[in-house]
Amino acid sequence: MSEVYRFMWAELGLDLEAHDVLIGVLGKTYRDIYLSQEKRPEGMNYFDFVMSEVHGLRIKELLEEKQIGRKIIGSYCVFVPEEIVLAANATLVGLCSGADFAMEEVERLLPRNTCALIKSSFGFKLGKVCPYLEIADMIVGENTCDGKKKAYESLGNLVENLYVMDLPQVKSDQGRSLLKAEFGRFRAAVEGFTGITITAESLKQAIQTVNAKRKAIHRLSALRKADPSPISGLDALLANQVFFYDNPARFTESVNKICDELEKRVEEKQGVFNEKTPRILISGCPMAVPNWKLPWIIETSGAVIVGEESCVGERGARNLTDDSGNTVEEMMEAITNRYFKVDCAIFTPNPDRLDHISDMFETYNADGVIHYGLQFCQPYLMESMAVEKALEEKNIPTLRIETDYGMEDMGQLKTRIEAFVEQLK
């Protein structure tokens, strides 16, 4: 099997030697962090399988889709509407940005004080190790933070098929008009590119498919309210991460299957950690595969993560898209409404996010909040100050962490997080 994959990777233009190194590290990291956990739900076997085949079987599937004429669209952000992509009979996949790779080459194109996520997306391209990036017929960049929008100017020189979507920064009528216009432009681009005209029927179907995915995640999240939590934060994060890679229908089914199992656990008061284990809400920057550093430290320091206020988590999956419209225009309005609610830190001001953090703290019966900011991520680091202040005014213990994908600060982080957990006991 692996020989078949090697041939496939070579065809995609990957650097096989570098890719072997990446897969080796990924495998070891996964064993150390994921497979060493105790009392995991059986349903996680599916996600273990997905991760073991993340550059294998899933890529093979996508290649097969391509062979029958389906287009693959890659994205880096939750603002790219999957509904539009699916309605044009194309597939949306998240692109790799969760590990340091080829950093020397990256720093020839990007300043050193660029966040790890942006650097990583370049590293996977320059190191030729991301099959999703190579397989994608179209890569969608989006003008979120300054770092990303300027980086796409350089990325445009590295890939031939970059499409950049503009995004509003203010939640005003003008901001909404911009988003609507950009989604209209994206729809036209996707239609032109696939040669398929989006119909009311196909769009409604696509909305329902994506909503089903989100509802499955909502169900999973709701089960984490229980004490003891029936699933570790690491495993729940993984499900949220796979959201961006997997076939939507199969993903929905697999998450729902885990939820059936977790419901029984909750009934029987079984959990991955003991009852009364300190419960942490993580809030802040997204965690892309295989960025499991912070959750791993937290869950090996005597606490359990019960929610992620993050793009890879509740910020990304919170809202459903209204599917009651009867025309493409009505549903495009609904899509605009849905995405305009995303409370990303690129918006100014962004009061909804503060409310959501407090709500999630209550909903998931958390004991404390850890704000996760990627070093040099200006929007989230700026907001972290306001978040800390607002939460402390409500007597919610808060710890601000600023880190990157490197491992050199592990000792310091471990001490800070253990001390925070001691504080919650």
């Binding site: 000792g411 001390a419 001691e422």
Partner: protein, 250 residues
């Protein structure tokens, strides 16, 4: 019963044993060196105790070797400082390679803390290297700095850059004590900024080996317009806190 607390720091290891009343029966220390576990074993051999809690950066290594419970330095210093000064609300702890500011609730529980993240700027290691560059012994460094007649500005807090800055100040013929004072001012500024992020009013206590430096104590006290209290043996406060927790929980 004899309750032990061991604090395995980056530069030194401290070991304290308390009795049922929380009184210190014994204390001893050793350099951490390159093999902290062997050093810790030697210390433990020399003293008898019934149970023990480990703290400090080497606590997890100790935990796996000796199968003992651990707590973080933050909690250990909170408990230790509270035992030394019951009214304490804010703690500054500067050790060999990290520094922390801790705010406490009235009952002594940790309310909030700040910690330096990656580098050794403003810690004991920084002072040690600077003392050496200026030809002072570490225990005379602060005392000598206090005798400076004017305050010299040091711009760099990075250990590597500061060392070359000091070298060029020496070359320029600047007074050694004034350079020393400048370095202390730089460290104190950093510590004050860290304390301000958590400052909680009430009594302020300075723990960790660096608290033995009189110049820093004076500069920080001046910055806050209030005395910063130093326990009799500030570098033992972490181990003392761990020993007290062993008494209360084991």
């Amino acid at each position: 019963m004899r309750f032990g607390g061991i604090d395995i720091g980056s530069r030194s290891i401290e070991f304290v044993v308390v009795d049922d009343g929380g009184r210190i029966i014994q204390r001893c220390e050793a350099d951490t060196g390159f093999d902290p576990i062997t050093q810790a074993k030697k210390l433990l051999k020399s003293v008898s105790y019934d149970c023990i809690i480990a703290t400090g950066y080497g606590r997890n290594l100790f935990e796996t070797t000796f199968d003992t419970p651990t707590i973080t330095e933050i909690k250990a210093h909170a408990v230790g400082a509270k035992a030394c000064f019951n009214e304490v609300r804010t703690i500054l702890d500067i050790g060999g390679q990290d520094s922390k500011a801790i705010a406490l609730f009235d009952n002594g529980k940790v309310k909030k803390f700040e910690m330096n993240d990656r580098c050794a700027a403003g810690t004991g290691k920084f002072l040690e290297i600077m003392a050496k560059t200026l030809g002072y012994k570490i225990d005379e460094f602060g005392r000598e700095a206090l005798t400076a007649e004017k305050n010299l500005a040091i711009n760099s807090m990075c250990t590597v850059f500061a060392e070359s800055e000091v070298t060029s100040l020496i070359a320029r013929g600047e007074n050694r004590r004034e350079i020393a004072k400048g370095l202390h001012i730089a460290v104190a500024k950093r510590a004050v900024a860290m304390i301000k992020r958590v400052f909680n009013g009430g009594l302020m206590v300075f723990t960790g080996g660096v608290a033995k430096n009189p110049c820093l104590c004076q500069l920080i006290s001046e910055a806050f317009g209030m005395k910063i209290h130093v326990p009799e043996a500030p570098h033992f406060v972490g181990a003392y806190g761990a020993a007290l927790l062993a008494r209360d929980t084991l």
